[in-house]
Homo-oligomer: 388 residues x 2
């Protein structure tokens, strides 16, 4: 074992204190020492550095009455820094500005452009926000294959982009640090840090052009060995079923994704929606709202397979709750009864109390996950690891 | 936050040091202090107590050359205490005696009795071993629904026992602490602590009368919210398929469990194996060994569905490797090609390198997992928490 250098020890201790305050909320220096097993003198020294950098702030004093003087509470300075969160979707994108707590200062939803125009659109949106707000960094959520360590989008099939070095581009164009991850993972991050959701073991299913699941186990995201966990859309649900884009047959995605709902509607109605593969289920949703029975039927078929798939997921993982999000979930009123029926039929009895629920936060869940993720990374990498 | 009492602080620090040595291997006191963030004086004091209790031992000195004197290495005293590991199976049971490292001193495999006779058999086997060896505690693995916190078997359908308070009975009969868990979890524990398996993210599938999976994520067992994770046997593999004992239809267990293989053979051959539900796949295995084509076919059908089920598991979790264990896996040579074919057909390309493998340790994997689990619990609960 190598002996750590003094400065790396300082950084490690600062990260330890930061994590402890994130998990436990405001604490006095004495309680921080107890939680982290650091020496009180070390806590005193490191917190003074973190207060100087505005990573921490003082926040009143302890409520617990104790013999001797009350300890001043320290907390993470969630409010003083703003971040941009960008949810790049294949149909719609969303941009928000929030502080580290997730308080939204600005939000915008718009149709996504494709390919080169998409990159231009991303650039222009960030430029607009960057002029208006003093943002410290950017969090971006993408579908497809993302390398969060390198800050790169390796391949996002539905957006028709590949090898997009987000980190490098944002540094060059805006001189801002950027942090990238998969959109479903950003959703899960949002639910982890959002205080209204107290579960430690849950899943969030993102149903859009693809179907992914963010798995949270004991408060942490399960990413798998090679960062590829969560491909719920590619479990086999019907081995004699439709051919999937991935090359396999009968994947859940071929029945319950946004495009599958369009396809089912076209099959049932004999109509051609003339969208050359670019339609999403919102067009079928509108038909359902107009009372179109076949459109309603298309949602119900998607729901039937979705219920089987979610039941398999739950039988394997036994989470406390399953959240349903993503574009298709906006048609939940047409999915609900068929999902819940087949889910109930396929759930093992030990999991019969595991409920399905839409997250209360709504459509900005991914963008908010991205901005608060950027906050955390910025504090850890820019303010602590680089500058302490 | 409550202020911790002095004695609970001492216990917490001792547990911290124990865990750190378990995860990192032998370390000097200085490195223990660095790893645990405890003060050197605290490490010195606590390790002296742990050496006195024989929880730790000195083990030569550091290999790394450093300025100043070499630190004496401390390690967990794996070798000095013996534990009994008991794998209670519905067809066969296994008993071993091992130290905390898993070095086997005694092993025995025998047919399991049923119901009251089973309890008598368990008692007699433990008595025999307890007379021969100076064991400090008992680890027991059961199928079915187990409450590890209470040390109870709530319901083991295949053994026809319920509400078996193992902890209480073993205390009364042998004055020994007993630790209980599900057999698949004990298998996973064995692979975690067995040094030849270095994976941090893996699954172990136990195929017997039921089909369970032990999920290990970042070195820790994923148990789920209510301790019910891993019911791979109850994912729906064929919604028009056979009726399952659990009340659902088309569960993986109805196609690939030990009893399902017997059933498939009976269907294919028109024979009745006259076992009133008590047969296991070993009888079909023997027929296959004699060249019976229908017996071989029965394994192949089980393998086909197993491949689909494992692919779904892997697509969700993205482990590094999947181990296949349990009674049915002894017929691996008749399963292998059909499992691997359907697995390959149903695996998402990001997981194409995830391999299936039989664990090298063989049939005592569960009993060994139980005895080394008992070692860990005994040290933590009896030597540290109670007596330090």
């Amino acid at each position: 074992m190598k002996k750590a250098s003094l400065s790396s020890l300082k950084v490690n201790n600062a990260l330890l204190i930061f994590e402890s305050l994130r998990n436990n909320g405001p604490m006095s220096r004495a309680n921080i020492a107890r939680e982290t097993h650091l020496m009180p003198s070390t806590v005193s020294y490191i917190t003074s550095l973190l207060l100087e950098k505005r990573v921490l702030k003082e926040k009143g004093s302890e409520e617990v009455s104790r013999v001797g003087k009350k300890g001043v509470l320290l907390d993470i300075n969630y409010e003083d820094f703003l971040f941009l969160g960008y949810d790049v979707g294949s149909a719609y994108s969303r941009v928000i500005v929030s502080n580290g707590k997730g308080d939204i200062q600005y939000s915008k939803r718009f149709e996504s452009k494709k390919n080169d125009s998409l990159l231009k659109q991303i650039y222009e949106n960030i430029q607009t926000v960057n002029k208006k707000f003093n943002i410290k960094g950017i969090g971006m959520a993408f579908p497809g294959y993302v390398n969060p360590e390198k800050g790169m989008v390796v391949r996002a099939h539905n957006l028709d982009i590949s090898n997009f070095d987000v980190k490098k581009v944002m540094k060059k164009e805006f001189n801002l640090p950027a942090y990238v991850d998969h959109n479903t993972i950003m959703m899960a991050r949002n639910l982890i840090s959002n205080n209204s959701h107290k579960e430690k073991d849950f899943c969030i299913i993102n149903i859009g052009p693809g179907i992914g699941v963010g798995i949270v186990n004991d408060g942490k995201i399960l990413r798998g060995y090679s960062n590829a966990a969560g491909e719920l859309g590619h479990i086999t649900i019907n081995s004699d079923g439709r051919k999937c884009n991935c090359g396999k047959k009968g994947c859940l995605e071929t029945e319950s994704s946004s495009k599958a709902i369009v396809k089912t509607y076209e099959e049932l109605s004999g109509e051609n929606l003339n969208c050359e593969g670019n339609c999403d289920s919102s067009i079928v949703y509108k038909l359902a709202e107009d009372g179109n029975k076949k459109a309603i039927k298309a949602f119900e078929r998607a729901g039937y397979y979705l219920g089987i798939g979610i039941a398999s997921l739950v039988n394997i993982l036994n989470p406390e709750k399953v959240y349903i999000a993503g574009g298709v979930s906006y048609g939940w009123k047409y999915l609900k009864s068929s999902v819940e029926k087949s889910y109930k039929e396929n759930i093992f009895y030990a999991n019969k109390d595991v409920k399905l629920e839409l997250p209360s936060i709504g459509e900005y869940i991914t963008a908010l996950g991205a901005s608060t993720f950027a906050f955390e990374k910025y504090i850890k990498e820019e303010l602590i690891s680089r500058k302490l």
